[in-house]
């Protein structure tokens, strides 16, 4: 099984702090070199290219993918391996190629989480269209698996 190094919490010293307006958290400060650029945007949101990752709460497995330019545009994300430890296994070669660099820690994979309190289960994660972040270039894209093994609404169960 592939594993993702704990890269989300890295605390390397950094330079310039950017001030970012968010609807949910008010003004937050993010190190300029921690921004994530999506050249193509997320699917369906091609005009929004720049996001940052914010922790949900201390110790929480969840993060926020927050738009840098649109205060109300944000997503809950999670390391998909936390909800589906075998996610990378049994994928066809075409899909494994999408995750090149994960094993050496250069690339992290995030699943977008949908929160719908009225649904059962209320939490699902999109395992067909994960976000792949190259930490070396701070660029990311949402890839689409060819495998039909997973769904856009994979149940995410918390204990």
């Amino acid at each position: 099984m592939m594993s993702q190094r704990n890269a989300l919490n890295s605390n390397e010293p950094s330079a310039q702090l950017l001030e970012i307006q968010t609807s949910r958290f008010g003004v937050v400060h993010v190190e300029a070199d921690k921004l994530i650029h999506f050249p193509e945007g997320l699917l369906g949101l091609p005009d929004h290219h720049d996001y940052c990752l914010l922790p949900h709460q201390p110790g929480s497995p969840f993060f926020w993918l927050q738009s840098v330019t649109v205060p109300y545009l944000s997503f809950v994300v999670i390391d998909p391996l936390l909800g589906e430890p075998n996610y990378f296994d049994h994928l066809p070669d075409a899909d494994r190629q999408l995750f090149e660099g994960v094993e050496d820690g250069n690339v992290i994979v995030l699943a977008l989480v949908t929160v719908k309190p009225e649904k059962d289960p209320p939490l699902t994660m999109n395992l067909v269209g994960p976000v792949v972040v190259d930490q070396r270039t701070r660029t990311a894209r949402q890839v689409v698996l060819t495998s039909t093994r997973y769904s856009c609404r994979h149940p995410l169960v918390l204990k």
Partner: protein, 78 residues
């Protein structure tokens, strides 16, 4: 939409670097082979549309996020 009729083992070329070939025809199922540059994503249309729809759903978050308290794992007793 441009409509082109192709037979088995024939193909079409799109631009200079994309080729779509008909590899098989069985009942109402057509098997296509696609040669495209690596940076050109190829999607099943319904999957692509599902992801767009799910992204928009995911962007609509409730104010109450107590559902996010906890860690992934199996339910107790499950």
């Amino acid at each position: 939409m441009l409509v082109i009729t192709r037979k088995m083992d024939e193909s079409i070329t799109i631009g200079g670097d994309i080729r779509v070939a008909v590899l098989g025809i069985k009942g109402n199922t057509v098997k296509l082979g696609i040669d495209a540059p690596r940076q050109t994503p190829v999607y099943r249309t319904e999957v692509y549309q599902n992801i767009i729809a799910e992204n928009l759903r995911a962007a609509e978050l409730p104010q109450d996020l107590s559902f996010l308290d906890g860690h992934p794992g199996k339910k107790e007793g499950a």
